[in-house]
Amino acid sequence: MNDEGGTTGGTDMDDAPALDPQGAAAILQQARDRARRELAVRRPVLFLIWAVVVFVGYGAMWLSVRGQHPYRGPAWEALLLAFLLFVAAAGASANVVDRAASGVGGRSELQRGIFALALLAGFIALEIEKQALATAGASRPVTALFGAAIPLLVAGLVLLASCATASQLDWPRLAIGGWLLAVAAGGVWGGVVTSLAVYALAGGAGIALMAVIEPHVRRS
């Protein structure tokens, strides 16, 4: 058949003793469980990773700006920490996805590529918008307010949009996408300092909560 399966021959298991219905049901269930374990992306792990990034990243920035009068922006240490967390989380997420998706081709592979591209394009486009706002005369607090919401806006929109291409209704993805958009839109009203605390707490907690309830939602 191919060069991956070098040998032919082998025992044809048609010669195996007749399979009774109970045995068939047990094999069916075991095979289903194993396929789910091996081929499904461990989304609770992904949610936990990003909950930590959102909570610690935004939390560190909030700690460094609270009490600033006038507003000067987050300390470089906080920005560096958020950036390093983001890079580490992106790498860990890619690892989790690759582990499940190894050898899987077809439509899902294409969708994963488009998902990653949409995230990247969204970040770049909104960062350019932020620069344009600054160039047009927007103050530092205004651009900072917009800039802080960009990751949540992009992630929320891309998660929601990706539900349209899923083979079945994906409640966890839909819920977390909607929640991130709501947090981004609601938090911005708190102002440049408070919004960071809202993003850290509400964003982080929402994603962490989904890590806990997602396996139950998927099973039901």
Binding site: M1, N2, D3, E4, G5, G6, T7, T8, G9, G10, T11, D12, M13, D14, A16, A18, L19, D20, P21, Q22, G23, A24, A25, I27, L28, A31, R32, R34, A35, R36, E38, L39, A40, S102, G103, V104, G105, G106, R107, S108, E109, S167
Partner: protein
């Protein structure tokens, strides 16, 4: 309802595992031969034998891409195979229900 009504192409432990594993993927997806072998735990020879029988029945399709070390054989469940597994599961459930003490 009798045991003979279970689809004989699927009603073999290895082929049942293959079909159920491929059915776990969303429609439109395929699995490489090597990954399928890892998940099922069959020797390449056995897997090839069972895949041929499933392919002859129209339940799976295989497609070879590339050549040499980069060659990849993609195995996918066809719509016919997905429907056959659904039927098999239904018949199996009926058999188990009828055998259960009332």
């Amino acid at each position: 309802m009798t045991n003979e009504e279970l689809d004989p192409v699927i009603h073999v432990p290895a082929r049942l595992r293959i079909v159920v594993t491929l059915a776990a993927l969303p429609p439109g997806d395929d699995l490489s031969f090597t990954r399928l072998q890892d998940v099922i735990g069959l020797t390449p020879g056995n897997l090839i034998t069972h895949l041929r029988k499933l392919e002859d029945a129209g339940y799976v399709s295989t497609e070879k891409n590339g050549s040499g070390v980069s060659a990849r054989t993609a195995v996918a469940l066809t719509n016919t195979g997905r429907a056959a597994l659904d039927r098999y599961t239904t018949v199996l459930r009926q058999l188990l229900d009828s055998a259960a003490p009332s």
